[in-house]
Every structure is written in structure tokens, then in C-alpha cells.
């Protein structure tokens, strides 16, 4: 099955080879890396300045570890592309986006319009995360 790529960023997509997290030791200059669900996103902290692309693999949509990985990377200041790859379904897009993903490579193609609609699902949000949205508690108290 072919992957479609939907990017919510204006910069050009990275063309650097994507290095599996497990092989990073041999590629200390890597610009792009792929995390599997069990990989420790915190181990990328020393590399966050040099990375343009972090792919987070979702072999099955039911494995939610990648949400934590993404949010952790953004919390530590990563600003490059954060791409959810694999079993990425439209009904999870708003959560991906709230955790910091700004690109999607779903195995089953999703349209850009469907992504935009999914992100707009919630008129407001209850939590402060890494997407810059103002939580409801802050709206209430100015």
C-alpha cells in the first residue's frame, strides 16, 4: 500500500535519509530519524537542534505510545517536522495534532480536507498541550 503525505508546514520536506532510532549510534549527523513505539523519545534531546524530521511509527492505531513521544519532543523544544506514519486514521487526527504532529503519512489515504475537518472537531480544549491552543480554564479566567 502506498503512503500519502499530508504536511501542515510551509517549509520543504526533508530529503535526508530516515535513520531508524536503533541505528542512530552509527549516524551521529542524522537529519531525520524514525521512532518505533518502544523507543525513548527523550534520548533524542541532544539531537533536537540538528533534526529536520522525526517520524513516529504507529504500526497499529491502538498503540498510543507515539502520542507521548511526540508531546515530549515538542516539550523539549523540537520545532522540525513531526510526522505520524503508519496506521493513522482520520478519527485520531485531532489528537495527533494536539500532541504536536504536523505531518501525516497514513497507510490508508486521507484527504487534506478530512484532516482540516478533523483538526477543527473541538471548538475548544480542556488541556494545555503543545499545540498552542488556549485551554478552557484559561479562557474562563482571561
Amino acid at each position: 500500500m502506498g503512503e500519502t503525505l499530508i504536511r501542515l508546514r510551509d517549509d520543504a520536506a526533508s530529503t535526508a535519509p530516515v535513520v531508524p532510532f536503533a541505528d542512530l549510534g552509527d549516524h551521529s549527523n542524522a537529519r531525520a530519524v524514525r521512532l518505533m513505539p518502544g523507543d525513548d523519545a527523550r534520548a533524542l534531546r541532544p539531537l533536537l537542534e540538528q533534526l529536520d524530521l522525526v517520524e513516529v511509527a504507529f504500526p497499529a492505531y491502538t498503540d498510543g505510545r507515539g502520542y507521548s513521544a511526540a508531546r515530549i519532543l515538542r516539550e523539549y523544544g523540537y520545532t522540525g517536522e513531526l510526522r505520524a506514519v503508519g496506521d493513522v486514521l482520520v478519527d485520531q487526527i485531532s489528537h495527533y495534532h494536539r500532541c504536536g504532529f504536523d505531518a501525516f503519512a497514513p497507510v490508508q489515504p486521507i484527504t487534506r480536507a478530512a484532516v482540516d475537518k478533523a483538526i477543527a472537531t473541538w471548538p475548544a480544549v480542556y488541556q494545555r498541550t503543545v499545540d498552542g491552543r488556549t485551554p478552557i480554564w484559561a479562557l474562563r479566567h482571561g
Binding site: 513505539p37 492505531y61 491502538t62 498503540d63 498510543g64 505510545r65 502520542y67 507521548s68 513521544a69 508531546r71 516539550e75 486514521l89 478519527d91 485520531q92 485531532s94 489528537h95 495527533y96 495534532h97 494536539r98 500532541c99 472537531t121 473541538w122 471548538p123 475548544a124 480544549v125 480542556y126 488541556q127 494545555r128 498541550t129 485551554p135 478552557i136 480554564w137 479562557l139 474562563r140 479566567h141
Partner: protein, 544 residues
Amino acid sequence: MYLYDTHDQAMVDARVTEFTDQVARRLAGTLTEEQFRPLRLKNGLYLQLHAYMLRVAIPYGTLNARQMHMLGDIADRYDRGYAHFTTRQNIQYNWIKLDQSPALLADLATVGMHAIQTSGNCIRNTTADHFAGAAADEIADPRPYAELLRQWSTFHPEFDYLPRKFKVAIIGSDIDRAAMKLHDIGIQVVNDPAGQIALRVYVGGGMGRTPMIAPVIREFLPPLQMISYLEAALRVYNRYGRRDNKYKARIKILVHEIGADEYRRQVEEEFAHILTLGLEPPPAEFARIAAQFADPAFDPAAPDAIDLSDPDFAVWVAQNVHAHKAPGYAIVTISLKPVGGIPGDASADQIRLMAAIAQEHSFDELRVTHAQNIVLPHVKKADLYAIWQQLDAAGLATANLDLIGDIIACPGLDYCSLANARSIPLAQKISERFADGDRQRNLRELKLKISGCINACGHHHAGHIGILGVDRKGVENYQLLLGGCEGADTSIGTITGPGFSEDGVVDAIERATNVYLDRREGDERFVDTFRRVGMAPFKDAIYG
């Protein structure tokens, strides 16, 4: 109690829109059942043996008369005129049609209700002490914290695909009425050594296949760091909880395998990081919520005396009425366990009657208990007799709270696709065997709990007498457990030995109660005698 503002309501309305679209896509075939399943589950919609079952959230078991009335109307409109209150303080409808479910949720939304996250591997509806804000023994009202938790956990983007479901309970008194230590996270509002309000956090309790009592992970948490701390506790679980085996995926297994000390260390490390991120709602938000849980306008002149000249009423008051913190007031528990009835079931008319009584006599407030009963939290003692008469006329005045007839039972194989055995007919038989009120009262507090499968929705591990239904070579079989308890002295029951047939287990229970009557000393309850004398005499009597 807390009323939704425009923000809360907008979120509920958005959920109805989203779910309506998902059902339409399912009915049109663009969503497969496999893709639809987790989506409907996050709206509490299960496909059961005979129909869809919808589980509606009752946040921390608290609701007002208008909401309760709507629950009755929904039973008439979309079900067969009745509904089932659950051990998680929620309500379930058993005969729902998929194409009608969006309309049902839209009706619920008109009274600020929903089915958000009542299933799925996410943070479920938070449960709480059903006497919160009314009990005479309370340190602080846990409901403002529970409401903070409701908002924080609603559509939390990081924790929607946890290794397994996640249940939080919160209490504010030393008497645990919420089985708090048997939850993934249990929180107790306490006073710290300096006399300040703090939260004691227990993590890693649970029932199911591997029952565990949660250890204390944080002794005294500043209350307005609760959200940050739970972000940390859940993140450690989401990252490191087991996903290779669904029977080992609950947080209790993680805490058990790495140990409470190591889990605590990891959480503290994550917590220190999260505190730098500004995720905690401000004190003003807590104050806004807490103000909505302020005491209602109790009448300071309410008389304290109750006329107990009607003997049936006197029995009910002694059994089903608890001390209230305000003079002249009482807490009423309405038993949904009539002799021979289905535990937790109520008809649409009964639900609407309870709503009407709450509106007139309980400051427009009701609670659902984890023991599947309904509480009127703030009732004038002077009104008790009139209330009792109304309840009695509707079959709602059974005076058996915490007695052997007050049985907790899951829906079992009559409805549930997970069940191995029926729970309801067994509960009915036990209830009939011990129908005599004097006999029940002579047995004192005796909590009997039935689960129709190992998932333990009927809390059998925590029953003074617990029953677990199993499938033995295609035949329903019932294991008997003794010595479980859910209160401050939480313990997990022990299996007596080989299982029984449906009738056999009723006989075995009767023999166990006879041992108790023979051996008890002083004020001992069944569970106290069991703890003192041990299993041997019970086993001898049951199998001898």
C-alpha cells in the same frame, strides 16, 4: 452541584456532531466495524449479545433532577422502559438501536449529559464518595477535584490509546465508600502534618483477573498540582505499561512488576518536568468549581427529631438513612434491590419519581452509588416520612442497605458478551432465600457481590461474600469467595474451594452465614468473624 457553562456544553455538542457523523459513515459502510468499534466504545456503545448497550456517564455519580428525569424518558423512548445503574456510578441501557444512538446522545446533551469515555482504553468516568458534601465524617468535599479531573480527562489527546482502560476514584473522608484502593488511581483528600489540605495518591489497584490493593505513591500532594501529577503518572504508564498481553496491561501490573518505589521515582522525574510546563488550571478555576459545590441553603431551624411511631418506617430509617453534617438533615439511600429484583435496575417511572423527590426534598440533587443504589444527599429529617411513603408506594423503600439483600451484580450472561455465567438469576435466588428482613438484619452488614466473569464488574473480590461465575465445560459454575472488603480496611477475598451450581452456591452461602452466626463475638460483622477465625470452619461447613 456543577452546572455546565457554555464551554462545557459546546464540547458535549461537538461530541454529538462527531458521533453522528461516525454512525452515518458506519451505516454507509465507509467505516468498517473494526474501525468503528473503538469510536463507538469511546461513546459507551457496546455490541452485546442481543443489542447495542449504551453506557451513559454520570460524572462522580452526581446528577440533578432534570438530568435524572431525562434518564427516565430515555428509558421509555429508546429502551424497554427501564435502565440499569452500574458499579461505576453510571447508567446503562440494554436495548439500543445503532441508528437511534445519535438522537439519544442529542437528547442527553440537552441536559448536559453524554457517554464520553465510558468505555475504551482511555481515562474513564471518575467515581467518588456518594456521600460527598453531605457526610458528617468528611475532611473535604472531593467533588471539586473530581470535576477538575473530568475536564482534564475529557478528550485528553495523549491518553486516548492507553495500554488498557483507566479508572480514577476520589474520596474525602477516612471511611472509604468508593472502593478507592481498588482503582488504577485512588485519591484521598487528607490533612497533611501542617494541617493543610493535601491529596494522597494511590496507584495500581484493581480487580479483574489479578486483584491488587493500590500502594501509596504520593503521601501528600499539594492539591493544586493534581493535574500535573496525573499527567506524569499517566505518561509513565502510557510509555511503559505492557501492551503485549491485554491481561497484563493495567497499570497495577506495571507498578507490581517494577515496584512501587521505581514507579514513584519515574513519576517524580516526569512530574518535575511537567511542573515547568504550566499545565495546571489556576486557583481561580478551582475556586470557580468549588463555589458550585458550596452547601445548599440548609434551614438552620430544621428540627432534629423524627417521629418513628410507624414501625416499618423506623426500620427503614435505621437501615437506609445516614447522618448528615447539617443538623436537622439526613442522607437517604434508596435501595434498588427489592426482594427478587434485578440489582441496580429501575423503571422509567421509578427514575422520574426519584427525580421529582430530589427536586422537592433534596436540593435538586441525587447520587448514584457504586453499590447500585440512589442517594438523596440532603433531606430534612422532617420530610423523611413523606418521602418514605412515596418510595414505598413505588417499590423503592426496601430497608436492606448494606445487608445481604443489597447485592451488587453485573448484568452477566443475560446481556453481556463477555460474561461466562448469569448473575441476575443468582442474585434473585439469594435475595429470595434471605428475603426475611429480620433474618437479614440479624446477619448485620454483609456485602455480597456477584460477577459473571473474571473482569469483576460485580466487584466479587471485594465482597464479604463474593461470587464469580465461570464456564466449566459449557456449564455455568460459581466460585465462592469470602473475606473481601472495599472500605478503609480493603481486602481481597479468598476462594473457598471447588465451585458450585447455581442452587449449590445459594446453599453454600447459607451455610457460611450459619457459621458466622455460631462463631461471631460482640459486634462483629461477617467479615470480622471471618478474619478472626479464618477459612477453616467455613470450609468445613460448606463442603463437610
